[in-house]
Symmetry: C2
Subunit: 267 residues, 2 copies
């Protein structure tokens, strides 16, 4: 096929703890008259994966749940409503607002946490759907991320299986024999964004099919975990205010030490 | 149409200064047998827009060109090859590596700069194509961006016209009457990412057509400029090392001032 087509799968309905997503998705596809083919990628919102995996938990408040889900706070800022927006690193290594903890579309007094291991969730879903349909397909699990420097959010991948996470052009040269500047494409993130366009079009449907990217299908693979950059090597491992404050404290200690040294010398 | 389809337009060929992109793209579409329809969005790599607009400039070295294109340095870091990677804010307000200055696929001794006003470029292209084809279409101009916290790059929009930049759900409530957490979708960035999947599939073709997003077509609109967050209000306006250093210097000055005050008091 030329290019790709992407469409949302209607009729998934509400998902609850223990629900069989393979069955729910297969049945919705059948009702829609959709037949999956080799090379299709199924894009699934983390929300229904979390619900099926029982990640809806009772929580006094969302803030406490965020604290528990966060490995560390990257940046924070007071909001107009009196609360504090926290950008945190999750247990998975994702840096996102509120640790991906969702309080919308869940019962009062509850919050929805991200899947414990979204790559494993994607792999289980892919294997189940492959068994049921006999089709060689990939799965991408998505969530919504803000980003620095640009307002508004985009969907990115938080889990993936049987689809290449990246397209690596490192070492490729251009027509003039020079190495390409941009070298690694985050395929699964681009797939997540593409699917969001059709999922929002029909009002937040949680599942979409991407057809035409057969060349990207792969072994189960290292998944989205392979895209996570470790904090130590990241130029933005801390918010600017937080890093300034750390520097400020270190600068004051340094000046005090220098002053002590100077006094010692004078004695 | 259900969902969307996205495909790359073949046969654009090399683009040079002063070339008429409207004619080049229209002719490539005709040769491919593609007929644009109302609601189509044309996604165009900034590279050919820059080339047509004469933004290929002689440059002793890429570093000098980056310095000239940068409004300020956001973060920098030494590279293994002895150079320095600079994340800068461009004249447009985009935060990106190397100010988007491209030295690949350009003649030796030259670099390619971003379009001066990519929203205006998108608008001119859209108007030209609308006149020539009689079709109500939108245009998105794209470039490739790295991002903090995740390795690999994705395509984002740097210019847009006649297509909604964002889908704003602020104030919408969920089934339980609670306001939605995620509220503004960066549509043009998701369109850029979707198009990149098919453009890379056929080896870096610079133009793709997105069909099926008719609902997103709009007045010329404020374009991608409306997505740029001003540095002052950004939690990551400076790299962590840079912010730490600023804080460190401020902390040392503060300690010195306090020491001076203490000496004054003792006198």
């Amino acid at each position: 096929m030329r290019g790709m087509s992407v469409w949302a799968v209607d009729g998934i309905g509400e998902v609850g703890p223990g629900d069989d997503l393979v069955a729910l998705i297969s049945e919705a596809l059948e009702r829609s008259g959709d037949v999956l083919v080799d090379g299709d990628v199924l894009v699934v919102a983390s929300k229904i994966v979390s619900k099926a995996e029982g990640r809806l938990v009772a929580a006094e408040n969302r803030e406490q749940a965020i604290t528990e889900e966060a490995r560390r706070v990257v940046a924070s800022r007071p909001r107009a409503d009196g609360g504090v927006t926290r950008i945190v690193e999750t247990r998975h290594g994702f840096v996102m607002a509120a640790a991906g903890v969702d309080a919308s579309n869940v019962p009062e007094g509850h919050v929805l946490l991200l899947p414990v291991d979204p790559d494993a969730s994607a792999a289980a879903l892919a294997r189940g759907l492959r068994e049921r349909t006999g089709v060689r397909l990939g799965v991408v699990v998505t969530d919504t991320f803000g980003r620095p420097w640009r307002s508004a959010q985009t969907d990115l991948a938080i889990g993936a299986a049987y689809v290449k996470a990246v397209d690596d052009h490192r070492g490729d040269v251009d027509a003039h024999g020079r190495e390409l500047t941009v070298s690694v494409t985050a395929l699964v993130d681009e797939i997540a964004s593409a699917a969001d366009l059709v999922k929002s079009k029909v009002g937040g449907t949680p599942v979409a099919v991407v057809r035409g990217l057969d060349v990207l299908l792969d072994e189960p693979g290292p998944g989205v975990a392979s895209l996570v950059r470790c904090a130590e090597s990241d130029m933005f491992r801390l918010g600017s205010d937080e890093a300034f404050e750390e520097g400020h404290a270190a600068g004051m200690r340094m000046a005090d030490l220098l002053a002590d040294d100077a006094r010692e010398t004078r004695r």
